[in-house]
């Protein structure tokens, strides 16, 4: 026991001290935080330049019908030919020239936006939705319906399905399908990546010991099984430290970045952006969009506060560690059977198939977390670490969690035992690439 701790200590310290570990630990949260903060930042920064667009309207019906925003202005030019504008465009202050052809109502190609740069999708979609709305309402007007405006505004509806969970004690809890789905997706994909990342680290560690010929020196003082377990557990400790640091650093960075970048006088700005965005979407009609939007955000916040974070984080760590231990043992067995990393591909295949299968099931599980496919794959230990994590944010009956967890524990003990037997033989054999069939024979050797 003392010796296994020594092995764990070495495996842990040599990895944690590596430059690559430190870089990974620091860069990944920066990347994560960047992914969260940058889009928000862009939203506040975008289109601060006022842009003028000249409009040549052959139909003569759109003047004043394209809504202007704070940063986007339209000037309708009369009696001007587009070709003439082309000559003078570079001297003019216009950002672009919008040409609306006569056939706009019938031909979708009749509208052209000329510019010397590539206009952003915001601008083109703003224009196209404005023109579309105008044409549609013109067409409607042509039917000569009485009280058209009232009819139109009275038929405008917005439907959102709120989800409320009834717990056993008769409580009603606000939940959010979007939130559950987002969490399920991120967490299960994370489990998949981390199992791969740290599982292959175990394999590389075993190959390193073999190829550097240290292994026989070590196994004369430590049982091969202890050496294998020490490596697996040492890397597990590395993974836990890394995950915790990632979570802490990401939260820290996001909080720091949002207070630094967003709060300084940009509350107003972001508010403006939201309203201007809404103006663009809502066009001229008054829609209770603001109300709808706010209620969605509120709903998300209540749902977030109702999420059982203890269960989700606990489940995440349990199923990640369980899955890691299961796969790490198999990766160790593969590492013991080869002399260098290039030979591993063929042997690693059977290990990766269940992981990839789990990811496929995960995608379908996002839609029907209680379907029979999701259920069965969340019980099979080779896929349960990923599939169960997918189901967890939607709520899983306790007995299923216990059953799946127990199966995982039993299986990893069995697999570790088998892998230990392969490892014991494999690490001392050099010079040949071994097959799974041979490894099966090693399992049957007596110690």
């Amino acid at each position: 026991m003392k010796k296994i701790l020594l092995v764990i200590e070495r495996e842990f310290l040599t990895r944690v001290r590596k430059k690559s570990f430190i870089i990974m630990t620091v860069l990944t949260p920066i990347l994560f935080a960047g992914l969260m903060v940058v889009p928000a930042l862009i939203a506040t920064m975008e289109d601060k330049n006022e842009r003028h667009i000249a409009v040549v309207d052959d139909t003569g019906i759109f003047e004043g019908k394209i809504p202007e925003t704070e940063y986007l202005k339209f000037s309708f030019l009369e009696d001007v030919d587009v070709d003439d504008l082309k000559e003078t465009f570079h001297e003019s202050n216009y950002y672009a020239v919008l040409y609306i052809g006569k056939m706009v109502a019938t031909s979708p190609d009749a509208v052209v936006l000329y510019s010397n740069k590539q206009p952003s999708i915001d601008i083109t979609s703003h224009i196209s939705s404005a023109l579309k709305n105008e044409i549609e309402s013109q067409k409607l007007l042509a039917y000569d319906i009485e009280n058209l405006d009232e009819i139109l505004s009275s038929i405008k509806t917005s439907v959102r399905v709120r989800t409320v969970k009834w717990t056993k004690d008769g409580e009603a809890k606000e939940s959010s399908t979007e939130l559950a789905m987002g969490m399920a997706y991120i967490l299960s994909f994370l489990v998949y990546m981390l199992i791969f990342l740290f599982g292959t680290q175990v394999m590389r560690g075993v190959i390193e010991e073999k190829s550097s010929r240290i292994v026989e020196v070590i196994v004369s003082s430590v049982k091969p099984f202890q050496l294998m377990m020490g490596k697996i557990l040492g890397i597990a400790a590395v993974s836990l430290v890394q995950i915790v640091l990632w979570i802490v650093l990401t939260f820290g960075l996001v909080t720091a970045a949002s207070t630094l970048l967003l709060s300084s006088g940009s509350d107003k700005m972001s508010q403006e952006t939201v309203t201007s965005l809404m103006e663009q979407q809502g066009a001229s009609q008054v829609v209770p969009a603001e109300v709808a939007d706010n209620s969605f955000v509120n709903e998300l916040m209540t749902a977030l506060s109702n999420v059982n974070f203890v269960l989700i984080i606990g489940g995440f760590i349990f199923f990640f560690i369980g899955g890691y231990l299961l796969y790490a043992a198999m990766f160790a067995a593969v590492g013991s059977a080869v002399d260098n990393e290039a030979d591993t591909q063929q042997l690693v295949m059977p290990i990766t198939i269940p992981l990839i299968l789990a990811i496929i099931v995960m995608v379908s599980g996002l839609r029907s977390p209680d379907g029979s496919i999701s259920f069965w794959f969340s019980m099979i230990p080779f896929t349960s670490p990923i599939v169960m994590i997918t189901r967890l944010p939607y709520g899983v009956p306790t007995w299923e969690l216990i059953l799946s967890g127990s199966l995982l524990i039993i299986t990893f003990i069995a697999i570790t035992w088998l892998a230990g037997k392969i490892y014991r033989t494999g690490i001392l054999l050099y010079g040949k690439k071994h097959t799974w069939a041979e490894m099966w024979k090693w399992i049957r050797y007596s110690s």
Partner: protein, 311 residues
């Protein structure tokens, strides 16, 4: 007393028998040579003694009782396939291996300091293993093999990778360890060092122990039928004087003295050979020719393989 006894060890791998009824007895305080061609089963036997693998049949006794898991603390093993973690620093690596052998951190540091000074490698403590040459790494490996002062030391090809100066240094260290009471088993193909250092040998061939015993006895046994006769006189006369039991195999003349190798077909303890020579020549020297271990190795292995229908 015998520090190590293996009796009737058998070990089978998937499709071949690695050890077949192998028994060896290693007397305490001796240097014991484990010889044999490549693939004969030496390393397997050493691994069984180190409890890296277990035998299918047979027992290993250490200090007169069946070997226990804890006995690895009393054994130091330098494998033939030896290496170190390339990315670790020399000092922490040596400390790690010493602690795996059961030393406390403080004890390990103290002993490492002593050995690093003794081997004149103090300056390497903070170097990375990958910066060392092969010979330098071998010194570290030697130090960590002996650091816990084991009663039994097992060296598998200890001299490979050393330059002659360092090989000599290691040889003297091994002899010193013996002087301090340790028992040494070593496996090598270098027959010169076997003759020089070993007290006992065992020759393993094709999974079997085919020759065992004190080295002097083994050499004399195999040398009992050739004598070197030095005399003043004519070779032809001597040849004629000898009866059919003796045969002059070769001879050379140097400054009037002829040295002839005489083969004895049927060994007898009387002085018949000398009696036949003395009348025709003046004998100035007479000794039994002790063959080199190299010759014995080749002869025994070839005879065995011929007798058992191997190539």
């Amino acid at each position: 007393m015998n520090i190590l006894t293996t009796s009737n060890i058998e070990k089978r791998f998937a499709n071949h028998l690695a050890l077949d009824d192998v028994s060896v007895t290693v007397p305490e305080g001796s240097i014991y040579g484990l010889l044999g061609p490549n693939g004969a089963g030496k390393t397997t036997l050493i691994r069984i003694v180190n409890q890296i693998t277990g035998p299918d049949k047979g027992q290993v006794e250490f200090m007169g009782r069946p070997i226990k898991a804890d006995d690895i603390y009393s054994i130091g093993y330098l494998p033939e396939e030896r290496g170190l973690y390339k990315k670790m620093k020399v000092g922490e690596h040596a400390l790690y291996l010493a602690r795996l052998k059961g030393l406390s951190r403080n004890d390990a540091l103290k002993k490492l300091k002593y050995w690093f000074e003794r081997m004149e490698i103090q300056g390497w403590w903070d170097k990375k293993i990958e910066e060392l040459s092969k010979g330098m790494a071998q010194k570290i490996q030697f130090v960590v093999t002996v650091i816990h002062e084991p009663k039994l030391l097992i060296f598998d090809e200890p001299f490979s990778g050393f330059d002659p100066i360092n090989a000599n240094l290691i040889k003297n260290e091994i002899l010193d360890l013996k002087k301090n009471g340790a028992t040494v088993i070593f496996s090598t193909h270098n027959m010169g060092s076997v003759e020089e250092m070993c007290d006992h040998i065992t020759l393993i061939n094709k999974s079997k122990n085919i020759l065992s015993g004190p080295i002097d006895k083994v050499r004399l046994d195999y040398g009992s039928n050739v004598f070197e006769l030095a005399f003043k006189g004519q070779v032809d006369e001597v040849t004629i004087a000898l009866d059919g039991n003796y045969e002059v195999v070769s001879h050379k003349e140097d400054a009037g003295i002829v040295k002839a190798q005489v083969k004895v077909h049927q060994f007898s303890t009387d002085n018949r050979l000398l009696k036949q020579v003395i009348p025709v020549a003046e004998v100035v020297g007479f000794k039994q020719v002790v063959p080199s271990m190299n010759d014995i190795f080749i002869q025994v292995v070839q005879e065995y393989n011929k007798a058992h229908g191997h190539k």
